[in-house]
């Protein structure tokens, strides 16, 4: 009998279906509802109530838990991402944390949402190591969300260069953008969702791009019938 051997694959093309992160670019796909669920009011309530939220559950208590609406808004990536260079530690941003928060608060106010700063803490959120969405290792972070409208149960967090620097403990990281970091944080947060709607923005240094993200989020809330 011939001997079987370990034979490495020399080249393998990218599969013709998206990763979970890539699917963010096509939120409509996730809203496709199997025909068998269409007449199922309770299933639809969970599906739409939770949006694309991801709760790691599967028990009877989970059914109870899902009645509390906890959902994540999609990301609103805009514009061209700034390239990151290897060893590029502290890229100066044009926005300070205060500036960035002020933009979100100002835009949200126009839609009647009033954010109070640093109300809600979420502990032990699992993110890709150093904020890298493609990492094979993970780390846990404790987070205080940047703002909360307690009445409407809406929470936001802006992922900034400062957050990235903190997660990687001052170590050099390469090619990690705030959008990449927001993707992995979003995945982690989906397992720890507070009640209400949570949205992540990313600060890529441009004031108008951040404002646009907030506007897109507000348009999304409106389309969802939430404001």
């Amino acid at each position: 009998m011939e001997k079987l051997t370990i034979t490495p694959v020399t080249a393998y093309g990218a599969p013709a279906y998206p990763t979970r992160g890539q699917l963010e670019a096509e939120p409509a796909a996730l809203r496709r509802v199997p025909r068998r669920w269409r007449g199922q009011a309770v299933v639809l309530a969970v599906l739409t109530g939770a949006g694309v939220a991801t709760l790691a559950v599967g028990t009877a208590q989970a059914v109870e838990k899902a009645k509390i609406v906890a959902r994540l808004a999609p990301l609103f990536p805009l514009g061209v991402e700034r390239p990151r260079l290897a060893g590029d530690v502290a890229v100066p941003t044009l926005l300070t944390e205060e500036d960035a928060r002020a933009i979100v608060v100002e835009e949200a106010k126009k839609a009647g949402i009033s954010f109070a700063p640093d109300v809600l803490a979420v502990e032990k959120v699992r993110i890709g190591k150093d904020g890298n969405r493609y990492a094979n290792e993970f780390q846990q972070i404790d987070l205080t969300l940047d703002g909360t409208d307690a009445g409407r149960k809406i929470h936001y967090e802006i992922v900034t260069e400062a957050d990235l620097a903190q997660w990687r403990g001052g170590k050099n990281a390469f090619c990690i953008s705030t959008l990449d970091a927001a993707v992995t944080l979003r995945e982690g947060l989906s397992q720890k969702l507070p009640e209400g709607t949570t949205v992540l923005f990313h600060d890529d240094g441009a004031r108008e791009a951040l404002r646009k993200q907030v506007q897109e989020f507000l348009a999304w809330l409106k389309a969802e019938g939430s404001i």
Binding site: L4, V33, V46, A50, A53
Partner: protein, 381 residues
């Protein structure tokens, strides 16, 4: 964290691919089980005081020790009430001793049951035989119906050998048609696979891909592990590596005599011991095995699919090659066969925007949605 309690090395069957045969035939005492549970709880408290402890009843055939199982469950329930630490239980059984009483008894009815069955009669009876060499297919037929009536989500574990590979697709379809919805399939990696049987394996996976596509487009809900795992390894990059067993970090196997091992494959092999229920975990031994296993295998370093390949599994490697750090050529061949078939299947279903495919693979809420659906339509009550 999980504790796998090898209640006994004895078994009433003599499956031809069984790696448990030939072990000494000891039986665990209640004291050993209690000490194991105390150790598991203490380990868990170091990390998270409220995390739940999984207890898996394993063998040999664990149902040979039915009274011991009941006593262990009662002991854990008492601990639960006192400590607030929650337990959940699972049994992995050949099914021949499973009956209504076990599935309804207040002590044992909450136990999650996983059951071994190799599918159609020709495949099942080729390997899963009793002490007289008789196949167990006919005996298990009513048991399967009974189990699924009480536990519709019970997973079935199917082993494919070079001799039974030509029945693989038929076996999977047979189990599905009987009502099984969770199919955990694996190869007998230590079997005498060759080019011809591997070619047949490829043909069977292609047939299974067509079956999977047809059912998914018909919006059936089911889990067929070889495809699900490979598809997830692309959709969630890194999941293959992070989901692997971490050799003694997340689960510990306890032999009947109380010695500890990192996984079921190692029980009874002194070289792989990582302590004892009374003396505790031997951290140095555990770390040594973990490090040995975590090293990238030299043969695989240049492979384009290594992040999506299961060669990280030290237990499979040990089963097939006798060594933790030596990759099994059968595993390598299997991965190279199944990966492109699973990717083409997923691409086709995605391109057709199959709602069931998208919900199942991209919405981590899927298990909950599915459960809600089943509860509202009366399944699994």
């Amino acid at each position: 964290m999980h504790l796998t309690l090898h209640l006994t090395a004895s078994c009433n069957l003599r499956c031809r691919y069984c790696y448990a045969t030939g072990r000494d035939k000891g039986t665990m005492t209640l004291d050993t089980a209690r000490a194991a549970i105390a150790l598991g709880m203490a380990e868990l408290r170091k990390k998270d005081a409220k995390a739940s402890l999984g207890v898996i009843f394993f063998g040999g055939e664990p149902l040979l020790q039915r009274e011991l199982i009941r006593e262990i469950v009662r002991h854990c329930r008492t601990l639960e009430a006192a400590s607030g630490q929650v337990f959940h239980f699972k049994i992995i059984t050949n099914g021949t001793l499973l009956d209504e009483a076990f599935l309804t008894d207040p002590d044992t009815r909450e136990i999650f049951v996983a059951f071994s069955h190799d599918g159609v009669e020709a495949a099942h009876d080729a390997n899963r035989v009793d002490a007289e060499g008789r196949g167990t297919f006919a005996q298990l037929s009513p048991t399967m119906a009974l189990l699924l009536r009480h536990k519709p989500y019970a997973p079935t574990m199917l082993v494919v050998t070079p001799h039974t590979v030509r029945h693989y697709a038929d076996s999977v379809a047979y189990l599905f048609d009987r009502g099984v919805r969770y199919l955990i399939c694996s190869l007998d990696y230590s079997g005498a696979w060759d080019a011809a049987t591997l070619k047949e394996l490829e043909r069977q996976y292609k047939t299974l891909a067509a079956w999977y596509a047809r059912l998914t487009l018909a919006e059936e809900k089911f889990y067929f592990s070889p495809f699900e795992v490979k598809i997830a390894s692309h959709i969630y990059p890194g999941s293959c590596r992070s989901d692997r067993c971490e050799l003694g970090q997340r689960q510990v196997s306890v032999a009947p005599d109380g010695r500890l091992y990192p996984c079921v494959q190692f029980v009874g092999d002194a070289d792989y011991g990582i302590g004892d229920v009374h003396a505790g975990l031997d951290e140095a031994a555990r770390r040594r095995l973990y490090t040995l296993n975590a090293e990238e295998k030299a043969e695989c370093a240049a492979c384009a699919v290594r992040e999506r390949c299961n060669h990280f599994c030290g237990c499979l490697n040990r089963q097939a090659t006798g060594r933790l750090d030596r990759v099994s050529p059968v595993l390598c061949a299997h991965e190279r066969i199944v990966l492109p078939i699973a990717d083409r299947l997923a691409a086709r279903l995605y391109q057709q925007r199959s709602a069931m495919f998208i919900q199942k693979h991209y919405n981590a809420l899927f298990p909950l949605l599915s459960l809600v659906e089943d509860r509202t339509t009366g399944i699994g009550q």
